[in-house]
Amino acid sequence: MNGVHDMGGMHGMGPVTPEADEPVFHEPWEGRVLALNRATVALGKWNIDASRHSIERIQPGDYLRMSYYEKWLVGLVMRLEESGLVTPAELQSGRPAPRAVKATPPLTAKGVAARTGERGWFERPVNTPPRFTAGQRVRAKKINPTGHTRLPRYARGNIGVVDRIHGAHVFPDSNAHFRGENPQHLYSVRFSARELWGEAAAARDVVYIDLWEDYLERA
């Protein structure tokens, strides 16, 4: 979707303002939100791409106003509700619905030790050879999917060169919508800054973007 989350190349966002000696969490609730996200993904009702897409669906004004972990909180509530794990009435009252069946947490404190470093593995075996080879010129397709996609707007329609092939990976555009993993070859594509931004860009500079096969065509 052409959302406000797709920020590459936008103007007007102001300077980057690093904070010296920044803590991991600025408020205890930020840590709780992160932990709730990690603990509930273990329930198996959604995946990383669906998580990203829920945050992308936050209204643009809210998306820009909210802090990072507030977006995580809002996205989590969306997924809990959409997956049916909690009902709107439960969220409203803060109490389980009468006669609601009590579940057993899939992730216990003991299980955390074994699973925290686990980010998942997204490469999958496929039977088809890569359509493109390293060194080949490719064009990022000019497409505007209304659902989740990882093809940034600033790349669309531009020509780059395949730098390397990362193997076949789960395709976010289908996985985010629970339409299957549809694994396909993933390419690191090198674009010159001038191809992306025009002649004012520095002559030597380049941007590497990871792009799935369905995003690319021969150029």
Partner: protein, 202 residues
């Protein structure tokens, strides 16, 4: 500093508390597991992990080759990747090229080796500008990159994660691996700083 997290009222804190209590009552999460997760991200992972990889690469050419060939396996040698494999790529800075990592679409960041990202990395200014004006962004970090140097920006659009292998600073030839690791900052491994003998807080 005008960070948005400082403008957030106590409201999210209350909402999170209510949500956690609901999920616990429904048996969907275990509060002890939440405590354990927070402890992990606050104390067990962080840029010290990445710094150890960088220092080893500086003193051990064979390790450096392994790191550049398959950073996930190299990180696994240090126990940073519990299952032995990780979608991780190391990018070597040289006098001719400077690498900079961003995620324009969200906030993808190499957690196993750098921990959780700082607020600025996840912010709209960095995400919007790193790809269109990398040299301007680097200048705000106090880094002037010469015109003869190629700036390579890596937009983390997939599950591949990127770690910059910074240049070893001149004058560090006699330093031990531990001393070298202490010089390596988080920002140097994102690409918004160089490693200096002074070291920095970031």
């Amino acid at each position: 500093m005008d960070h948005d997290h400082q403008e957030v009222p106590s409201d999210p804190a209350l909402r999170v508390m209510a949500l956690e209590s609901l999920l616990v009552e429904k048996g969907l999460v275990d509060p002890a597991a939440l405590d354990s997760l927070i402890d992990h991200y606050e104390h067990k992972v962080g840029p010290r992990n990445g710094a150890r990889l960088v220092a080893r690469a500086w003193v051990d050419p064979e390790f450096k080759m392994r790191l550049l060939a398959d950073a996930g396996s190299a990180a696994a040698e240090f126990g940073y990747v519990p299952h032995g494999k990780e979608h991780l790529v190391a990018l070597e800075n040289t006098p001719e090229r400077h690498n900079l990592v961003v995620c324009t679409l969200c906030s993808c960041y190499p957690w196993p080796v750098l921990g959780l990202p700082p607020v600025w990395y996840k912010s709209a200014p960095y995400r919007s500008r790193a790809v269109i004006d990398p040299r301007g962004v680097l200048r705000e970090f106090g880094l002037e990159i010469g015109e003869d140097v190629e700036v390579r920006v890596w937009d983390s659009t997939s599950e591949m994660r990127y770690l910059v292998l910074p240049e070893r600073p001149a004058g560090s030839e006699q330093m031990s691996e531990d001393e070298l690791a202490a010089l390596v900052t988080r920002d140097a491994m994102i690409g918004t700083a160089k490693v200096t003998l002074a070291g920095a807080s970031r």
